[in-house]
């Protein structure tokens, strides 16, 4: 990335040599991203991140169909990221019908529920691949078949699964697929949308002709180069990461559940990405738990980073049937590529004592426990 901040400062849209060097770098990145997804380079649109990719997919597709035609309908799920959920709520305000398909208590959507939600006027199905809070992996291939049979466009938010699961847009059967660079160790502020050839997309912004008119604006060359490099590395390291990090996650989760018997694992254990452990520690209080652990050098999250500080408990945890009290006592541990055995040992050593202290001193413990 670094040379593109300084020595190779050219604008990828310029004719001169410096511009051509930037263009080559962007094209190389486009190839790397396409290779990670089993797509053609021309089907990759670079964006400012996963949120823009999701918005471009949803508004871009729904926007191309003239309002004069009959009623429009979109199908999504109850556990989508806010980038999709809030986009769908905005569609509703603009007169589009949206169906929010529920998930089972393990956090998995049933493709038959998607099929049942179909209507003649259904335009788009949008379902995430791996859930950002639970890590649960949705049956995208089956939903892809449902979409194909019904001749409905299918978007998949794969921000959380890129680099963790093999992504092949053909076998997934998707027309649109979002990824984000920082989830695969690339820079923040850059992502991409896969747009299957022939899928109509209206740009979100008006401007020049960048990204084949699908995303006007001068390309973020260093960011795109970073995404390309991250995609290349993700493809190389995925299998090894899955084995090693998956084993660490399982060991951590097993030890925590043994040492804190009341702890509960959320999400289907056999259908999860290998780096995520979403755990409920009843009556501990997630906010205090995150802070107490941070003070011990252990960083975890309440729900999604994007909604931390929110008053309402996570919509995902509610969708899998957790009580408000349990939802407010749930944290997510995400293990990275650089996690070590020693770090997991330390987390296992520290966590039970911290949870015990939180419970003993909880201002909520009495009410929350009695509410269950």
């Amino acid at each position: 990335m670094e040379p593109y901040f300084t020595a190779n400062f050219g604008n990828a849209g310029s004719i001169h040599s410096a511009g051509q060097r930037a263009r080559s770098a962007v094209d190389a990145a486009r190839e790397s991203v396409a290779a990670l997804l089993g797509a053609k380079p021309g089907e990759i649109v670079f964006t400012s991140g996963g949120t823009e990719a999701d918005n471009l997919a949803i508004f871009g597709l729904v926007g191309v169909v003239p309002d004069a035609t009959s009623k429009k309908h979109v199908i999504t799920t109850a556990i989508e990221h806010h980038a999709v959920l809030n986009a769908c709520e905005e569609l509703e305000r603009r007169g589009v019908d949206v169906s929010y398909v529920p998930v089972n208590p393990s956090g998995i959507v049933d493709p038959e529920d998607i099929r049942r939600a179909l209507r003649p006027e259904t335009l788009l199905i949008t379902v995430m691949h791996a859930n950002n809070e639970l890590g649960t992996v949705q049956p995208i291939e089956e939903i892809g078949r449902v979409a194909r049979e019904a001749n409905v466009y299918f978007h998949c938010d794969a921000v959380q699964s890129a680099g963790k699961l093999p992504l092949d847009v053909e076998s997934l059967g998707v027309d649109l697929l979002s990824i984000s660079a920082h989830k695969i160790y690339g820079p923040k502020g850059v992502g991409a949308l896969y747009v299957r050839s022939g899928t109509p997309i209206e740009p979100l912004f008006r401007g020049g002709h960048a990204e084949r008119d699908r995303r006007p604006g001068t390309e973020n060359v260093p960011g795109i180069v970073g995404l390309g490099e991250a995609a290349k590395l993700a493809a190389q390291k995925m299998a090894a990461d899955a084995g090693r990090i998956g084993a660490l996650r399982d060991r951590f989760q097993e030890a925590v559940c043994r040492l804190v018997p009341s702890a509960k694992v959320n999400g289907d254990r056999s259908r999860r990405v290998w780096n995520t452990a979403n755990l409920t520690f009843p009556a501990a209080g997630s906010e205090a738990l995150v802070i107490a652990l941070d003070l011990q050098g252990i960083e975890c999250s309440t729900g999604a980073a994007c909604s931390s500080g929110a008053v309402e408990p996570s919509h995902v945890l509610k969708a899998i049937g957790l009580s408000d009290g349990d939802a407010r006592s749930t944290v997510r541990f995400s293990l990275g590529r650089f996690a070590t055995d020693a770090e997991i040992d330390e987390a296992i050593r520290v966590l039970p004592g911290v949870v015990e202290r939180l419970r003993a001193l909880s201002p909520h413990s009495v009410t929350e426990v009695s509410a269950q």
Partner: protein, 395 residues
Amino acid sequence: MSPITELERSREAVAPPANAVAVAMSGGVDSSTVAAILHDRGRAIVGLTMQLWNQRRLPQLQGDGPKQHRCCSIDDVYDARRVAEHLRIPYYVINFEREFEQSVVRPFVDDYLQGRTPIPCTLCNNHVKFDQLLATARQIGAERIATGHYARIRHNAATGRYELLRAVDESKDQSYFLFGLKQEQLARTDFPLGELTKQEVREIARRLAVPVAEKPESQEICFVPTGNYVKFIEGYLEEQGSSLPQGEGEIVSTSGAIVGRHTGLHQFTVGQRRGLGIAAGQPMYVVALDRVKNHLVVGEDRELRRSICQVRDINWIPYAVPDCVLEAAVRIRNRHEPAMAEIAPTGATTAQVTFYEPQRAITPGQAAVFYSGDRVLGGGWIASIEDSQTPSQSS
């Protein structure tokens, strides 16, 4: 052998150093200076900011009137974070919006609807800051909490109890707002500014290069951005899908004559003169709010002067409960010059307060706080006022 077996053996309660202090940081100069002072003394500290109210609620209240200091605005969190970064201390924002609404905002609105004039700062101190925040501080491993209040706490070795005292700087004293603190709260609280004047605090802030040293002070109710509490109450009720239980009503004189109309009792407080819209020879003041009849009772200044009030939910500080009638200086609102009175307990947490001289505008919903010299003996909420013209002391 699995490494976990060893870990299970070494299991222990984990916490930061036992002497860590959590500093409640609002982003203002006082609490920022507390953090700087304790840090300068070498104490292990954790900065905590309470997110209490979402300013995106009631957007209709924004932008009318002068731009006032706001509660939990991005700017305040930004300032608190800047101070924490300057001091290089761990710092967190904790969301207490739910607790704050339940313990402070709703009671605040309800009090006005009941014809009382509440003190939200005291409700927050009693139910959020020295309750929820202290509990969270202890959860994360800090056994004590420090705030920027101007008051003092002293342990009385003879009685074994913690005592609350006025601040050294009488002009900044906030003990009136702290009467509700229980022994277990006082035992875990530090008020480092209680021994200092505001001038000294500013000087220390400058010396320690606290980034907000020159920030102006806030005066408004923190969650009412414009200072217009009437609009806040109306907006809040609308947001909650309800409306004022009582609207327009009559303004009556103390003799019962109808002298005008009002547009809602929640807009008035005892002693208020402005906004009555009535013409009379004498200046007229709100003397009482009669919620049952929805009457606003007005009268002359002398009719505001009363001697007796009933006080409820009293928290006694130097003792669990006094064993006799007390004589003390009683403050009936912030900035009121405490006046001598006899305090006769009528129960463990109730008392009748009889002032030696009638006091102007004793107001239900405000606190009556009892002082003996610098010491706070206790305090409670003013429940009702009795007419000094119908002397009960004659019996």
